[in-house]
Amino acid sequence: MDTLNELLGGFATAMTWQNLLFAFLGCLLGTIIGVLPGVGPVAGVALLIPLTLNLDPAGSIIMLCAIFYGTQYGGTITSVLLNTPGEASSAITTIDGYAMTKLGRAGAALTLAAVGSFVGGTVATIGLVFAAKPLGELGLLVGPPEFFALMVVGISLLVALAGKSMVKAIISGALGLLISMVGIDPVAGAPRFTFGMDRLLDGVSFVAVIVGVFGLSEILSYRKNAETPLVHAPGMRSLLPTRTEWRRSTPAIARGTGVGFGLGLIPGMTGSVSSLLSYAAEKKFSRFRHQLGKGAVEGVAGPETANNAHANAALIPLFTLGIPASPTIAVLMGAFLQQGLTPGPALFTEHSEIAWAIIASLFIGNVLLLLLNVPLVGLWTSILRVPTPILTAVILLFMVIGAYTINFSVFDVFVMIGFGLLGLALRNLDIPLAPMVLTLVLGPLMERSLRESLEISQGDFSVFTSRPISAVLIGVGVLIICSPLLKFHKPKALTEDPEA
């Protein structure tokens, strides 16, 4: 009952016209980012952080959350209409989504995806409401050694899933940790790797690094003569699914919700894993599995539900334990920290009003997305007709403003340019970028918990294996890293992607 009261209080805050406006703007911007090829959710959210810095904490986080799940839906539109996923997590949707477009059912596909996303997102948010308190109390069991072990598990999962080579993924993770160490040592206060530059005492600006590594490097790696695709918005009449389509997608949406919610809770899992596994589930369990690949609604409704359920469920470990589950969530956590909010059990005790307002806004955001996306499909597709040079120029403009406004200095613009080149080099060497983002945020937390653990044990490294919870977690992490040696091969479909 207590929880419900607090949630109602959250709704009261989230329903003020400013916050509704922020949620609305966030959904709008998020969908645009999702639609635009090239600007992924990681760079997109990072790019828009500076816009929100001057808002109050609740408004700013509400907007960024809305951007975050807006991108999930925006990616669907291009997958269905163009056969090119705007986001990695919508990649699998192209198979049946584009097939439906060819059959003239594009509108129905988009509507079902929107409804599925709504259901998945809402169910996951309900989960967040009821899991937040109990999980937060469980948080007391998590001391420094357990916290460290938990982060090891998250990073090793991401490393194991990212890219084709685990060696390269580990390099990416180690680079992220090293970058996060620039600045004043968070424990003893000694400057590290600052090369005598006072500007670096506060560390390399997180936003500038992410915008550079993800956004700028993406633009730098555009191919020559990329053609603007021809798209036609589906007519309004075809937006409504038939009764059979509704009936067929119901079980798919239910399965997608389950898969997305479950995987979203696990640190290190990305939304693309959820959508892929949901597609696999449809292949196995759907009554119409023989039609998959030829334009079956299940192939759209399932994965799209799953990735949105995942996106919302992934906020649970962030809110309750302060652990970001995926690169995008890591960026979101960076924004929390910049607003002076430390995600974790303390969020509900220290800033419970803001925390519940954010949760309430997730419900509102899901409704907004449903209302926004279906009728506005025409608008979204027209964005795709904007010629590449104009898009490039506008995106560069936002990157420069974004980097400049972090500290109001051109230093961060140079940082962004430098990391853009680093990102380009990493892309060319086929090194996945996702582990780097996660470790960039986790770096200080990991280091602190490592050092606190060793202080508790007075220098004995066995502190990680002598305590039951951390021993199990470390064991899981080692298993994941060693899985290739043990011949646990990951599904082939998973080798391509993560969220980048």
Partner: protein, 167 residues
């Protein structure tokens, strides 16, 4: 996937791409630098774990992984990456560096206007009309939107005649 690449015999005698070698070399160099400087920072002090402990571990990981990568490459060189559009990279990076260098002097509006005009008109070959309208919106428009709408101050020019007219 690691074992696969370690265990599979080379199918064709290929050479490791120079860019890959350069990458491995760079990561090793960074790793060694971190290892050395973290020893200086102190791995362990009388007060407990020192500032160098965690960087030391990461430097070690970086060197070890670079070595493993080299072994993998020697056994089976990776396929050549798709080429990048060098002209594009140079023009974007150089224009950004120029923009960042002059932004404090010329002010946001003038420098951003020129930057956008370059990308839209000279590189993007848009019409004058489109280029100028977008460049104006992105420079003057953005300046006022941020300054008065969001209370975020973008830089004004350091030169007297320019900053007097609000640029």
């Amino acid at each position: 996937m690691t074992t696969e690449s370690l265990l599979t015999k080379p199918e064709r005698a290929q050479r490791v791409a120079p860019s890959v070698l350069a990458g491995i070399g760079a990561f090793t160099a960074v790793g060694v630098y971190v290892l050395v400087s973290s020893v200086d920072l102190g791995l362990w002090t009388s007060l407990g774990p020192g500032p160098g402990l965690f960087p030391f571990a990461m430097g070690g990981v970086l060197v070890a992984m670079s070595a493993l990568w080299l072994v993998q490459e020697l056994r089976r060189p990776s396929e050549k990456a798709e080429g990048i559009d060098r002209g594009m990279v140079v023009s974007v990076v150089v224009s950004l560096v120029l923009l960042a260098s002059v932004m404090d002097l010329l002010g946001f509006q003038l420098s951003m206007f020129l930057f956008l005009l370059y990308h839209l008109k000279l590189r993007g070959r848009r019409t004058w009309m489109t280029s100028v309208v977008i460049a104006l919106a992105g420079s003057v428009g953005a300046f006022y939107a941020f300054n008065y709408g969001l209370n975020v101050a973008l830089p004004v020019s350091a030169f007297t005649p320019l900053n007097l007219i609000g640029l």
